[in-house]
Amino acid sequence: MATEKNYGNPELEAKLRDRYLYTDDTNPEFLNDVKKVSRTIAHMCYQCGTCTGSCPSAPRSSYRIRLFMRRGVLGLEKEALNDPDLWLCTTCYSCTDRCPRDIAPTDVIMAMRNLAFKYDIVPRNFLKTVQLIYTTGHGVPNNDVNRSAREKLGLSRDPPTTHSYPEFMPGIQKIIDHYKLKENADRILAEEGQ
């Protein structure tokens, strides 16, 4: 018969015997939400760690993709969405290519970011891009140095995009407004005092 290990610490013993997760902070719907947005089988993760082992962000930060996968399965919504590491994924898809369970952990992260945004949790650089596209159609708009360089190359000073055809801008703005994205970006940035 196997003998039970004893660490001589009743409090620790009780903790180790407890195989259940007790926390008021879980949201049983979190996993379903993640699966719906990511369209990947996030519940299939068996925590092998191949994803973290493939991740270029892991060796230089506390970001662990495997941890986020576990948080998804356990419904630890607040823990996942409030962790600043959520935004350190470069979306390189190495983990997705290597996951032995054919899960797309990258898309799980994207889904969690989408869910975080619903609570206004979002780094400001993402919102600045929204504002730029709303006003110019481009995330990286043209500038004067580039305009004269284009001219020297025999290209039009502005590319044949929304820059040359501003009549296409209302279409872009209508699409963004449909989702109230610009409105929310402006509001969050204003609340943060820019």
């Binding site: 470069t90 979306t91 390189c92 898809y93 997705t96 891009t129 159609g137 360089a149 020297k152 590319p159």
Partner: protein
């Protein structure tokens, strides 16, 4: 004049036309020499940036990419593009909407407000894959267009992430050690050198460059170490955002980490332009953050 039987709507994106216009003009001129004609996709905008927009609201990401796709559908023409980030948005959203009725209906409801409808009638290609495709161009035809071979130069290919990965949903085969862009580089007469962790990300994507520049540059730095180790004369890529990360990134790395590499970074189209006899001026190489001279001296 080369015959132009292959016509495409040229989706520019943002960084190529607005930061590295040499990539844009090189794409137009080099492809013409192998019988590919690129026509302007009027009124296109940002792809939209998959990291920034996809992270906030995937529905907006789908709808804005669909708007760009519809512009090409209206021209009745396949899209070609020269940026991995654009490929992720434009190719992937085209693919998703063609195969997912629920998402497509959702997107079309929004597009109705701007008098558009996504039909799924066109395909999307990266120009590099057209160069590699023997039905369109192929390695031999590309090699035949070379008038100034890049003989004696060692080039490290950075494939980037969003063109080939996730491999299961793409059509490029092996994503651990691909060789097809290396073959394209060798067609120009250069030696494509192999280096450690070739498929690692440049560090820029997913909004990380804007969110945590030091973290992002640290990833770039690792790639630069690996590329230097094998004595590469230049890095080539097929993504202006990777280009920006390596090129401007080297200046930022010097400021932040005190490390100097000075490795020229050229988009594959710029490299092809040089091999087809274009001058550095015609490619606006002076706009690059890292001086291309050490590389140019080897071939000019």
């Amino acid at each position: 004049m080369a015959e132009s039987k292959h016509q495409y709507a040229f989706f520019l994106g943002c960084i190529a036309p607005n930061r590295y216009p040499g990539c844009e003009s090189a794409a137009i001129k080099t492809s013409a020499k192998v019988g590919i004609e690129l026509l302007p996709l009027k009124g296109a905008g940002c792809c939209p940036a998959p990291g920034a927009f996809g992270s906030i609201d995937l529905n907006v990401f789908y709808a804005l990419a669909a708007r760009n796709l519809v512009l090409a559908e209206q021209m009745n023409m396949d899209i070609t593009l020269i940026c991995n980030g654009c490929y992720k948005s434009i190719w992937e959203v085209n693919h998703i909407l063609k195969h997912n009725d629920e998402l497509r209906d959702g997107v079309n409801e929004v597009l109705k407000e701007v008098d558009m409808e996504f039909k799924g009638s066109i395909d999307v290609w990266h120009l590099a894959e057209l160069y590699y495709d023997p039905k369109i161009c192929g390695v031999n035809k590309l090699a035949a267009s070379v008038t100034r071979p890049l003989t004696g130069t060692k080039i490290a290919v950075h494939y980037g992430c969003h063109l080939m990965k996730p491999g299961k949903e793409r059509h490029f085969g092996d994503t651990e050690n691909p060789m097809w862009i290396d073959e394209l580089v060798e067609a120009l007469g250069a030696e494509a050198v192999q280096y450690r962790n070739k498929m690692q990300c440049c560090g820029a994507g997913g909004g990380v460059r804007g969110y945590d520049l030091t973290h992002s540059l640290d990833i770039t730095n690792e790639k630069l170490i690996n590329v230097t180790e094998v004595g590469a004369d230049a890095i080539t890529e097929v993504c202006p955002f990777c280009q920006l990360q390596y090129d401007r990134g080297q200046i930022e790395i010097e400021e932040k980490f005190g490390k100097t590499y000075g490795i020229p970074v050229l988009h594959f189209n710029e490299l092809l332009g040089l091999a087809q006899g274009m001058s550095p001026q015609e490619l606006a190489l002076d706009l690059h953050g890292i001086d291309c001279k050490p590389f140019l001296e080897k071939i000019l």
